[in-house]
Each structure stands twice: as structure tokens, then as C-alpha cells.
């Protein structure tokens, strides 16, 4: 039933998502069935058809470059799981 090319652990890693073994097995079947359904698109001839990214194309939207007020620094840092000295704290990235 499941799509042989669908390697759930590899895709989950790309998505930065850890999964349990049970989730991996369940998703393999469920997402595999969704992909089988999606296969119906292959019978559609889309030669020469432009892709639609947005239904109402608007281009080069600009606004005046005026200084405005930003959110207060304390309010934003207050939302971070860890913050100190006006900085967000994360695990060490550079050895």
C-alpha cells in the first residue's frame, strides 16, 4: 500500500521533526495512501500551462520607507523560552 519512495524518517529529519516508531509506521501507511490518491494528477495534461502561485497576481508592492515604532524589546524577548542581556539564549552553535 505504501509508496516505496516515501522514506518517512528522512523526510522528518528534513522537517526537523522527531517521530516515535509508532508515528513513523502510522504515517507511512496514511501518507502513502494520500500520495496514491494524488497520483491522479499524473493523468492530467499540463503541457504549456502556466503555474498559479497566487490567484490575483500583484507585483512589486512597495510602501513608503518611513520610520515607525516597533514592538517593545521587552515584550518580544518576554515571549522567548530563554532570554538574557537583551538576547535570546540558544544551545551553543559554534564549537
Amino acid at each position: 500500500m505504501s509508496s516505496p519512495e516515501l522514506n518517512i524518517p528522512a523526510v522528518a529529519r528534513l522537517a526537523r521533526l522527531a517521530l516515535t516508531e509508532e508515528e513513523t509506521a502510522t504515517f507511512q501507511g496514511q501518507i502513502g495512501r494520500v500520495l496514491e490518491h494524488i497520483e491522479n494528477l499524473k493523468k492530467l495534461d499540463v503541457t504549456g500551462v502556466e503555474p498559479t502561485a497566487h490567484t490575483y497576481p500583484v507585483f512589486n508592492v512597495t510602501r513608503a520607507d518611513l520610520p515607525g515604532t516597533s514592538l517593545p524589546r521587552e515584550a518580544v524577548l518576554g515571549l522567548a523560552p530563554r532570554a538574557a542581556n537583551s538576547l535570546v539564549i540558544v544551545p551553543k552553535v559554534i564549537e
Binding site: 526537523r16 521533526l17 494524488i38 500551462v49 515571549l79
Partner: protein, 482 residues
Amino acid sequence: MDLAKLTISEIQQGFRAGTFTPTDLLRTLELRIQSAEPTIQAFLSRDFQTALKEAGSADVSLPLGGIPIGIKDVINVKGQPCTAASQILRGYTAPYDATVITKLRAAGAIPYGRLNMDEFAMGSSTENSSYQVTKNPWDTSRIPGGSSGGSAAAVAACEVPAALGSDTGGSIRQPAALCGCVGLKPSYGRVSRYGLIAFASSLDQIGPFARTTRDCALLLNALAGRDPMDSTSLDRPAEDFTAQLGRDLQGVRLGIPKEYFVDGMNPNVRATVEAAIKQCADAGAELVDISLPHTEYAVSVYYIIATAEASANLARFDGVRYGKRADAPKDLMDLYLRTREEGFGREVKRRIILGTYVLSSGYYDAYYLRAQKARTLIRRDFEAAYEKVDAIVCPTSPDVAFPLGERTNDPLKMYLADIFTIAANLAGICGISVPGGFVEEGGKKLPVGLQFLGKSLDETRLLSIADAYENASGWSKETAPL
């Protein structure tokens, strides 16, 4: 007179005549909420004291002065929780107002309460909320629809006269249909998305729930308009969306798409919708048979594009700047992996994986690009149809509200039920669901939605048609037996 059952238009008459005040209304609604919520569970939270202060100083001369509006938990209201019904945002407090909230406040309305939803708006039953299960007020053993199930249930249970939701593939229209209220998805670009937690940015629109089409039009008057903070919002001349209400259906050409009456629909829903369409004809509408030939591809296109966009949008929930962070991460990768594992629910994970897969190297052309091209064909189907008709009429959902728990283990079946609503998002057009009759199941009356689809930016006419049907049918006067 039960204030909780009034429409916005009726409330305004009461305010202006001095029969009752915004404070009277809010107190009545709060009592109603207290009696209904133990069963319905539409609200994740609410702040009665703040709302009471706002009611006390409300200016009832404003277009929505003193009207409490429930807000789906995916739209930021400054100082209030905003979790998208996800554990990854548990405890998050919005630091700013979404543009729609700024606009509602400017019109005098009072944002009241945070309404339950499927986590990150991913679902059709509100059972994917990580906090609680909302019940359908018509039969509390059934789902309210989704993803804006809390918004629909709160309006149907007379806990608020109106609410905001968001619609990516039917998340306003489908719960409105299943709960027997009116729900409007505006055209893409009509309403600013600034301050809406993004699911699929090329499909998402915010829109209103209310008891009548007229009330939805009043709300759209307040919500619509260009916003410098959302570059996809469109610059259009101001319109009064109530301008063409109160008309009849004489001379209106309604298209009936043959692809929207399919095998596998609930036969009672089909019969009810066919009877409703006959009511449109009796009221003067000219019925025109049309075809939307690419309908069979819509679910596939939608679940590629929506999940692809979602996988990118939800990358921001990484445990660094806001929201949940896993305990004692050993390095940055471990922090990402476990924060997202612990913070996201099952449907969200499923969609992130599907979206990541269809965008991944080697598959992009076969899935995402092909889906975008098929999207063009779906859009053209509608453009061709609107050369012949003023609006399309069809069912909102192939079924009535189903029993809680019935479909939670079968995602594909859940996705296929979105067939009648998702094409409108793919095409960027506007759509509305209004009560179209009832079906009896298990001794309970269950609402059936009638959907009208209008061409892009044609809301004034769409609302005129829906209002005319509503007045001819009288269904919107029915209230849930709660």
C-alpha cells in the same frame, strides 16, 4: 426578548432605541456562555472584565459599536492568548493586534473570547485541537465541523452574535454549514492576513460567521481593505457590501456544476440541496447547468499546495524565539527535533511531512509544480463559468455533521470531504454558506449548508444572492435546541 438570540442588526436597533445597552448584552451573553460551555466547549478562554470595560465605554453610533465578536484562536489580539489550539504555543500572549482586530475596534466592536479550532487550522472537525473537543449545538454527540468549529458552535449556541474564522480550504463555510449559521470566505486579497497565524499563505483568508447574510455583510464592511502590512491585500475602492441586500432573485443566473452532485454524498443532503436550489428557482433565479471539469483534481492539488506552504510556514515554530522549547536540549538540532515533536499534534506532523516530501529535491516538479499548473486549470474552469452565470450554487459539504471520533483515523476520508469547498480557495474566489434546510438523523435535526460561489471581488452581488435566498427560505431563523 432573549438578547443572546438577536442578530447584529436587531442588537443595533435595541442599542439605538435605548432598549438595552452593550453592558446588558455582554452580561446576558456571559450567562449564556456559562450555561452552554460545559457541554459545547467552543471557548478556549475569555476575559470578561476587559470586555465589560469596553462595553461600558462603547460608542453605539459606530457601525459595530458595542457588538461582541468571538475570535478564532489563530488571530492575534493584543494581550490575549493566541495558541492556534497547539501545545507549541501554550502560554503565548499576542504582543499586537491583527489588522482585522484593529479594524473591528475602529468600528466599535469588542473582540470577545478565544475560540477553539483544529490545531493550526488543519482539520475539518475541530477534533485536532490539542486542548478540548467542541460539540455541535444541534447534536452534542457530533462534530461542529472545522477548522473554525469553535466559531461556528459559539454562534450557533447563541454565545456570541458573530465570530471571526479563517478559511484555507473551507474552514469557515463547512463549520457554518454543519452548525446552521452563515459563514463567508472573502475573495483572496479582500481582507488583510496580518496577524493571522499562517497556514497556507496563498489560500488563507479571514472571514465572518453570523446568524444572517446581512450581519456578514456588515462585518465585511469593517474587515475589508488594503493593508500596507499585507502585500497581498488588494487596493480596491471602498464598497458598501450591504448595498444590494433585500432584493429578490429575479433575473439572477445561478450555475449548477454537475461535478458537485456526486456518488457517495449523503442522499438526504443531496435531496435537501436540490430542494433548496428549487427554492432559488421559485424565487426567480434562472438555473443554468455548468461544468467545472477539473473538480476531480482539486483535492490532490489542495493537499499538495496547502501542505507545501504549511511546511514552510510552520518552520518558524522552532523553540527559539517564542512558544514551547524542549527541556535540556543537548544541541541546537536536538532542540529543534524534540521541541517540534513535543509541540505539534499528529495531523500537523502528518501535513508537515507531506508538505516537506512534495517540496523535496527530485519531487518538486512531479508534485508541487504540477499542482500549481493544475491550479491554473481549476481557476480557468471558474472564469469560464462566470461568463455564463452570476454565481454558482452547490452543497457546502457532502454530508451532515458526523459523530465525534468517526473519522479521526482515516485522514484521506477526512480530506475527501472538503471537495466542495477547496476549489474556491484554489481559484481565489469568494464563497458563502447559508442554512439550506435540515436532515433528520438519529432523531435529531441536523443543518445542511447551501453554498454560493461568486467571482473574485464580487462579494456585493454574492451577498445579495445569499440574502435573497435566506429571506425566501426562512431557514436562518431556526436556532439550535440547546
